[in-house]
Amino acid sequence: MAIKDLPIEECYIPGSAACPGCPATMALRIVYKALGKNTVKIVPACCTAVIESLHPYTSFDIPTMNIAFEAAAAGASGVEAGFRMQGKTDITVVAWAGDGGTYDIGIQALSGALERNTNFIYICYNNEIYSNTGIQRSGATPYGAWTTTTVSGKTEFRKEMGEIIQAHHIPYAAQACIAYPEDLFKKLQKAKIIHGPRYIEIMAPCPPGWRFPMEKTVEMGTMAVETGAWALYEVENDKVTFNGRSKLIMEGKVERKPIEDWIKYQGRFRHLFKPKKDIKRIKAIEDHIDQMWERYRKCYL
């Protein structure tokens, strides 16, 4: 499949208030193309809650509910139950949340919905920060990254949401990236027809939050995958398959690129390079990724 083969129909229409180069809008276009108009969306506090509909514009062409920060998956559970009791089974219920609303405040509702076998798709667009409130750290922020609440670099590593999700043993879970729209589209198509809880997480490099030029969003996404900082994979009934570049890295057919190639272009890691290169912390990031791949290989190869 190529980009030209994606449906022409757009549910993400002009009127968005997003920053230039916003990855969330790129992801939303693909999500809507794959899921179609017969979709209901539950959005907690996050950038999307702002950019989708600043009066007098709206960029969504489907029913949407902006709910409290902690409540995306719980709200979606209710919507799904409402449809089910009316016998409406053809509508796709989607919860769409950022990493703050997924990793931190929303994890309780998410875990509950997955455990209850709620028939919905939960999509997390992960830009590794609280960008909507002005770039604070989240549970997804990588080690060493600057945010307004980790001014000299975060001292903890991000949590592995993918593995937390897998522990729920749901029918479908996947990791994707905005730089690989065809892969994302395929995963959404697959998720759409499965019954039960489905989880898709999309790596979404944020230009103002990560401090890189707005035209580099896709490049940053590509590099996230090529350096192995982010893996593309899907889990179908506990069977893990790595996709695209990540598959090649997994099988040892290509070397993952050094992490430096990715982080040196991001202002949020500038303090690791200037005034003096912080070899220790850069190596810590590298080692952490190595450990992650080592774990992947042990478990899934």
């Binding site: 931190d104 405040i105 750290r137």
Partner: protein, 393 residues
């Protein structure tokens, strides 16, 4: 680095004595000057700057900043830190304040000193995140379930954001009760000149810690070392047997959930420890009230346009005065009653649909007319809008 209260070092970290500062940042300064050594934060507009300011400065004075996973966690961590021996605070806005409500009640029930800065924004729900409001004035008083007393201050200026945060710590430590600084998006995001007090001008109150013989210590009763209904505080790890629970507990701290007298004794003590002192806790500003026929009763950001309206009224020969509540809860009931006896009309401007007008009515209505002057939607009153109330329009 171990935290030790060092006003000299704190002043070094804060910088110049006179600064042009953001209201939210002034709350940070106030907290640090008061000896806050723990901040549990969670990002929320328009209060994020308080967390950001603390994240930068607390480590430099030996304190700890933790960004929690949500506001429920923030409030819980703040309570935990207090029992661990820290003076602790958090900052939030409407939706986060709503999430904190359960633990706010827990802090009151367990007599935990802690400070919450609420940079109010419009509501209900998400409302207008970047715009100010005064819609949580009743929530701070009645938002958590059961009977308790609130300690709440409302700053009108950036200077007061700092001063009142210090005062909130003092009240909280003195009464072992959560104290709230009810600022708002307008004052929180306002930049003004502030003067940082000298060390000698700082009045800091710390909790009275338990010193009595460990065998004789009773954790939840009148103080055993002085005349007060506030018990001496036994920090965890100091060797005292301390059991802290949100369940109704007896004097020893153990659950007494099926005993009516125990509950009544406990809750009456934790409320009367504050209401007994209510008259001492009055903190107001009175302007032109000596000969006034009409008075504004106001607080927080709204006091600013009200003062301008008062000046316009005075210029045009209307005998108008202003009473500004600095401490909003406990409510200065006697003062308001006395004012009501002297004037014909009280006007209560608020950035909500009428909240503090209710206690004003309760204590003034028998003596004069009480008019609510509400405005919502994230815009402050214009002086002219309030002036019209003076002319009876």
């Amino acid at each position: 680095m171990k935290y030790k209260y060092d006003p000299k070092r704190i002043r070094e970290v804060l910088g110049k004595k006179v600064q042009f500062l953001l209201g939210d940042m002034a709350c940070v300064y106030g907290g640090l000057l008061a000896g806050c050594s723990f901040f549990g934060g969670y990002p929320i507009t328009p209060a994020s700057e308080v967390a950001e300011g603390m994240a930068r400065r607390l480590p430099r004075v030996g304190g700890t900043y933790i960004q929690m996973e949500d506001e429920i966690g923030s409030m819980a961590a703040v309570i935990g830190a207090a029992w661990g021996g820290a003076k602790s605070m958090t900052a939030t806005s409407g939706p986060g304040f709503s999430l904190m409500m359960e633990n706010y009640g827990f802090a009151a029930m367990t007599e935990t000193p802690c400070v919450i800065v609420n940079v109010q924004r419009t509501g209900p729900s998400t409302g207008q995140p970047t715009l100010g409001a005064q819609g949580d004035m009743m929530q701070v008083r009645w938002g958590t379930h059961g009977d308790f007393e609130a300690l709440a201050l409302a700053p009108s200026t950036v200077q007061e954001c700092m001063d009142f945060t210090i005062e909130a710590f003092n009240l909280s430590e003195k009464y072992r009760n959560p104290a709230c600084v009810m600022t708002d998006g307008e004052v929180g995001h306002l930049r003004e000149r502030i003067i940082i007090p000298d060390e000698k001008d700082l009045k800091i109150i710390d909790r009275v810690t338990a010193t009595i013989d460990k065998e004789k210590y009773i954790p939840f009763t009148n103080s055993q070392t002085r005349k007060s209904k506030v018990p001496d505080f036994a920090t965890f790890g100091t060797g005292y047997r301390t059991y802290v629970t949100g369940l109704t507990h007896n004097e020893k701290g153990f659950p007494a959930t099926d005993k009516q007298p125990d509950h009544e004794r406990l809750v009456k003590r934790i409320t009367t420890k504050i209401t007994d002192d209510a008259d001492k806790l009055v903190m107001v500003e009175q302007l032109n009230l000596d000969d006034a026929d009409v008075a504004f009763v106001t607080y927080g950001a709204t006091a600013r346009p009200a003062e301008s309206a008062m000046e316009m009224g005075r210029k045009n020969g209307i005998k108008v005065g202003l009473l500004r509540l600095k401490i909003v809860w406990p409510f200065p009931d006697k003062l308001v009653t006395n004012l009501a006896k002297d004037v014909d009309k009280i006007i209560v401007p608020e950035m909500n649909l009428g909240q503090m007008v209710h206690p004003v009515r309760e204590f003034a209505e028998n003596h004069c007319e009480v008019i609510s002057a509400p405005k919502i939607g994230g815009e402050m009153h214009l002086p002219m809008e309030l002036y019209k109330y003076l002319e009876g329009k």
